[in-house]
């Protein structure tokens, strides 16, 4: 697969390395001559100096036959334009843009960028998962279905401890998929399953009902 990366920062550099290791044909576009030189000295001629948003530069590196463009500069607007030029001028079938402002995900999707990766969201989610008192963590987004998979912890203070699943007033967009108790095996909850302190609940919900689900499981 021929993959073009735009932006030779830490992310672009490591992505280049990883994709080369997987045996792909990869070219990194970077505006800064010094960064280019460093990469070429280390990895050979896999880096080209130029602005990845410029149609002429993209022409020079044969973007027309690229299977994928990944734009990972630090500026959302540059990543957007690089992907749009690749898509509309060079018919690149798959474009991936890094975004720093999570709000831009909807805009980029609307403008035809195939995949957006919000580095801010990823870092936030990872940190939240590590905060022991955080009651709800998003594990995964099922974008096409408009659903998310979340992990909710039942704390000893929750009013729902000792109650059964059928007593909960769950939002109708939410379904409990799995209960992982402190001890013992994970099980699929039934209507008469009793919640215990320390239970970890895996649930599927619409993003809008996340809050309501958390409140229902806390019971206040």
């Amino acid at each position: 697969m021929y993959i073009i990366i735009v932006g030779g920062g830490r992310l672009g550099y490591n992505l280049l390395k990883a994709l080369l290791n997987e045996g792909h044909e990869v070219l990194l576009l970077e505006k800064d001559a010094r960064i280019c030189r460093t990469i070429i000295e280390e990895m050979g001629s896999v880096c080209y100096r130029g602005d990845g948003c410029e149609a002429a530069i993209l022409d020079e590196v044969g973007t027309g036959r690229a299977d994928m463009m990944v734009a990972v500069t630090g500026d959302d607007e540059d990543n957007l334009v690089a992907c749009q030029v690749a898509k509309h001028k060079h018919n690149v079938p798959r474009t991936i843009a890094r975004i720093r402002n999570p709000q831009n995900a909807a805009l980029f999707k609307k403008l035809g960028i195939d995949v957006t990766v919000s580095t801010t969201d990823l870092i936030l989610e990872t940190i939240e998962r590590e905060v022991p008192t955080h009651p709800l963590t998003q594990l995964m987004a099922l974008d096409e279905k408009g659903l998310v998979i979340v992990d909710v912890k039942i704390s000893p203070e929750s009013a729902t401890v000792g109650k059964t699943v059928k007593d909960l007033s769950l939002p109708k967009e939410s379904k409990l998929a799995l209960v992982i108790p402190n001890q013992g095996n994970a099980h699929v909850p039934a209507a008469n399953t009793v919640l215990r302190a320390g239970d970890q609940i895996i649930a599927v919900t619409s993003p809008e009902s996340k809050e309501a689900l958390q409140i229902a499981l806390r019971g206040v």
Binding site: E54, D75, D76, E77, L80
Partner: protein, 127 residues
């Protein structure tokens, strides 16, 4: 969006004509370019941020013009104005003629000062 020389001048001209004008810039120092007679609003904010655009009143705007130094910032903010906020008229300055052609083909109303000025000089010199 963008209170550079062109932005500030356009804002004050439209203000003189009696329009309701808001200028957005992410550097308040740029507002020094507005004449003291300017009766519109000068607002600090980043034009590629939806919240800042809302604060500037983009939901009620009839026209949005992007005039920052960055082609990509202009392109992005104009696409937000057009596709997210449905502003009836959106104009975008794009220095790079190739990029300008592409976004014009994609339906943005664009002007490339590079192209226009080169053309103007040619006419002056040859005419």
């Amino acid at each position: 969006m963008g209170c550079g020389r062109v932005g500030a001048r356009l804002a004050s001209l439209l203000d003189e004509d009696g329009h309701e004008v808001t200028v957005l810039d992410n550097d308040t120092y740029s507002f020094r370019r507005l004449p003291s007679s300017f009766g519109g609003t000068a607002l600090f904010g980043n034009g590629i941020n939806e919240e800042a655009l809302k604060k500037a009143g983009i939901e009620e705007a009839d026209v949005f013009v992007a005039l920052t130094q960055g082609d990509n910032r202009n392109v992005m903010s104009c696409q937000i104005a057009k596709h997210i906020f449905n502003v009836p008229r959106v104009m975008c300055r794009i220095y790079d003629p190739l990029r300008e052609e592409m976004y014009s083909a994609l339906g943005l109303e664009t002007i490339s000062p590079t192209k226009v000025f080169a053309q103007l000089l040619r006419e002056k010199l040859e005419g």
